[in-house]
Symmetry: C3
C-alpha cells in the first residue's frame, strides 16, 4: 500500500490549501514541496473559498488562531466539504485555552473532517466534547506506551466513530484509526520533540497524501505518519554522524523527505495492524 500511495503524491502533485500557524508555516510549505505536493497559504475570508476550490486538499491548524483566521477556517472547510476535498484538522493546543477548545468544537461541528491529527491530550479534549458526559478523562492514559497501546487503539476507534474522521494520535507510538481498523506505528525518534514543527509538517503531509489518495484516507494518513517518522530516524543517523544540533537536525528531516523513494519508505515502515 505504501508504495502506491507515495507514488500517487509524486505523480499528482496535490496542491494543498493551508490555513496554519505562522510559527511553522515555512516548514509546512517546504515539506509539502519535498514530498511532491505543492503549498498555497491563504487566510483572508474574502479569498479562502476560491483558493480551496483550486486545491486538492485543505489543512486547518489552529496553532496561532485568531478571530479572522477562525472565520476563514470555517468558510474554507465548508467549501472544501461541498467539493468533497479532504480536510485535515490539527487542533494545536486544544484544551490549553477556552478559545482553542471551543474553536475546535465549532470546527468539528461545522465541517466534516477527513482526518483529525493531534497528541493524546488534544484528542482527549475532543473526545470530551464529542457528545458524551464522560469528561476530559476519556479512560485512556496520558501517553501512549507499550502498556497502553490497546486502550489507545480502542480510544482512537471510538473517537473515529464519534467524529466520522480518521484519527491520528501522535507520540512516541503513533495510532492511526478509523472506527473499524487501526495501525500502530513505531517510526520516529525522540529527537523530533526537540524541534518545532514536526506535528504541523505532518498535518500538511497528511493533507497532501489524502488529496492524492481520496479513496483510501486511512492508509494515506498512515503512510504520511510513517514517512514523517522514518525521515526523523534517517535524519537522526545523519545528525549523529555529523555531531549536529537541533537546527541541522530539522533541516535533515526535510532533506530526508525530499530524498525518499517509494521503496525506501516501504522498507522502513514499522507498522502493526490492530
Amino acid at each position: 500500500m505504501f508504495k502506491k500511495i507515495f507514488e500517487n503524491v509524486q505523480n499528482e502533485t496535490p496542491l494543498v490549501h493551508c490555513i496554519t500557524n505562522y510559527v511553522t508555516v515555512n516548514d509546512v510549505a517546504n515539506v509539502l514541496l519535498a514530498a511532491g505536493g505543492s503549498p498555497i497559504m491563504a487566510d483572508d475570508p474574502k479569498e479562502v473559498e476560491e483558493i480551496t476550490a483550486i486545491c486538492a486538499a485543505l489543512n486547518l491548524n489552529i496553532g496561532t488562531l485568531n478571530e479572522r483566521t477562525i472565520h476563514s477556517m470555517l468558510k474554507a472547510g465548508k467549501k472544501a466539504n461541498s467539493l468533497s476535498h479532504p480536510v485535515v484538522l490539527d487542533p494545536v493546543g486544544a484544551g490549553a485555552s477556552a478559545l482553542r477548545t471551543e474553536t475546535t468544537f465549532e470546527l468539528i461541528d461545522t465541517i466534516a473532517f477527513s482526518v483529525i491529527k493531534g497528541n493524546i491530550s488534544e484528542m482527549k479534549t475532543i473526545y470530551a466534547g464529542s457528545g458524551t458526559t464522560k469528561g476530559v478523562d476519556a479512560d485512556v492514559s496520558d501517553a501512549v506506551t507499550e502498556d497502553t497501546v490497546s486502550e489507545a487503539v480502542a480510544f482512537a476507534k471510538d473517537l473515529s466513530a464519534r467524529t466520522n474522521a480518521v484519527i491520528a494520535i501522535t507520540g512516541a507510538i503513533d495510532i492511526v484509526a478509523d472506527s473499524q481498523k487501526a495501525y500502530v506505528i513505531r517510526n520516529g525518534h525522540p529527537s523530533m520533540a526537540k524541534i518545532s514543527g514536526t506535528g504541523c509538517m505532518l498535518s500538511g503531509l497528511i493533507a497532501a497524501f489524502c488529496g492524492a489518495n481520496r479513496e483510501n484516507l486511512l492508509d494515506a494518513t498512515a503512510t504520511a505518519v510513517c514517512l514523517m517518522g522514518l525521515s526523523g530516524e534517517l535524519a537522526q543517523e545523519k545528525a549523529v554522524k555529523n555531531d549536529a544540533g537541533t537546527s541541522s537536525y530539522r533541516a535533515y528531516i526535510i532533506d530526508e523527505i525530499s530524498k525518499m523513494s517509494a521503496d525506501k519508505l516501504a522498507g522502513g515502515v514499522k507498522i502493526e495492524h490492530r
Copy 2:
C-alpha cells in the same frame, strides 16, 4: 554593469521596507542581509509611512494578503512614491482569487511601481487588466522556453510600456525588460522550484538592488535576477556534492548569496541583450 551595481549594494547597505507574506518572510530578511542590505518588516497602517520614509526601497508582496495589510501596502506605496523611493511589486497568486487579482490592479492603479516581478501567469493577469480588452490570453504561451523567448520579450516590453515599470518575468528562462530594452537570463536551476521562497527572496533582492542603484533600475533588477539564479546554481553543485535534500539546498542558496563577490557574479551571469 554587474560589478558596480553589486558593489553599490554592499557599500550602501540599503534598508528595505518589506510588507511581505508570513510564509517566507524569514528567508527574505536573511537574504537581504546576505546580499549586503538590511530588512525591516512593518505592516500596521499606523506606522508604514514612517517606516518606509527611513528606508531606501519598498517591497510589496501579496502572498498572504489580508484587509489590514492591503491597506498598509497602499499607504506605504503612496508614501514611497512621494519620496521617489523604488517600489517593487510581487503579485503572488494574481489570477488565483478575485481578491488577489483586484488587489493587484488596485495597487498598480494607485502606486507607480519601479519593478513588477512575477511568473508568466501572474504577468498575464496583470496584462489583461492593464487597459485593453485582450483578456487573459495575452498572446504569449504559458511558459517561457527557447521557442517562445521572442514573444515573451515582446510581451514584457509591452507590459512595461503599459505599467511604466521594469518587468521581471521569472521561470526556467527569466526576462527583465523596460519598454525599449530586454535581458534574457539563463541562470538558475530547476531544483529552485522544489523549495519555497525563491521568488519572494528575489523580490526582496530587487528592492535592495534598486534602492542602491536608483538611476538604473533595469540593470539593477537584472543583476538581482542573475545573483539569485547564479546562487541557485552554485548551491546545486554543493547539494550534489553533499547528497543534500531540499532544506539544505535552501540554506546553501542563501549561503552562496552571502559569499558572492562582484567578480564571481560578473563571471557567472548568463545574460543576453535583446
Copy 3:
C-alpha cells in the same frame, strides 16, 4: 552561577509564552527548545491570559506589532504580573516610528517588566520617555565600545532604576545591569549581525532563563546573554571550518545552543563585574 542557572532551565523546561514578530518566530521557538525550554505562541486577546497563566514566563516583542497584538501584549502582561511571572520586553525598533515608541511607553507604563532588552538606540528611546526631560540623547554614545563602557554601564544602571527592570543592552559589547550591579559581557561574534533573529532569540532565552530562575533575574539574564554570544562564537568556528555562508551559520548557532553543557558554558563566558 552560570552552571546552576543553566541547569535549572534544563531541569525545569520552562514553558514560555511568546507574543513575538512573525519574521523570526520560528527561530525563537527552536532556540527555546534547544536551550531546554518550551515555546507557546498565542496572540489573540481572547486567549492570551489563559495561555500566559500556564507558562513560566512571558516574552513580548514588538517587531511586527499591530493593533490586535498590542492589545494582547497589554492583557498578557497584566495577567503575568498578577501571577508574578517574569515578563521580558524586546522593544524592536522603538524610536523608528511613533507607533513603536508609544507602544513601548504604554507597555512600560502598564506592565512591570522583569527585563528590558534592546540595542543602545532602543534603550535611549526608552530612557527619553522615562520621566525626565533629558530627551533622546541620554548622555551615552551610539555604540558601546571599550571607550564608552563606563558611561554605558552608568546609563544601564540609571535606566534600571527608572524602570525597575533588569536592563540588557546588546551590541559588540553587552551590558546587563540592575540599579546596583552590572555585567559587561564580551561574548559573541560580528557575524551575528549578518543574520536575522539573534536579538529575538535572545529575548526568548532570557524569558526561559528568568522563568527557571525567578529569584535571580540579573544573573539569569546575564547567563542567557553569555549563552547566545558563546554559541555565536562556536558557530563561527564551525562556519569558518566549513566555509559556510550566513544561513548555515544561523543553523549552527541554534545547533550550538542545543549542544551546550553547563561546563562548556561556564568555561566560555567572558564576563566582567562592574
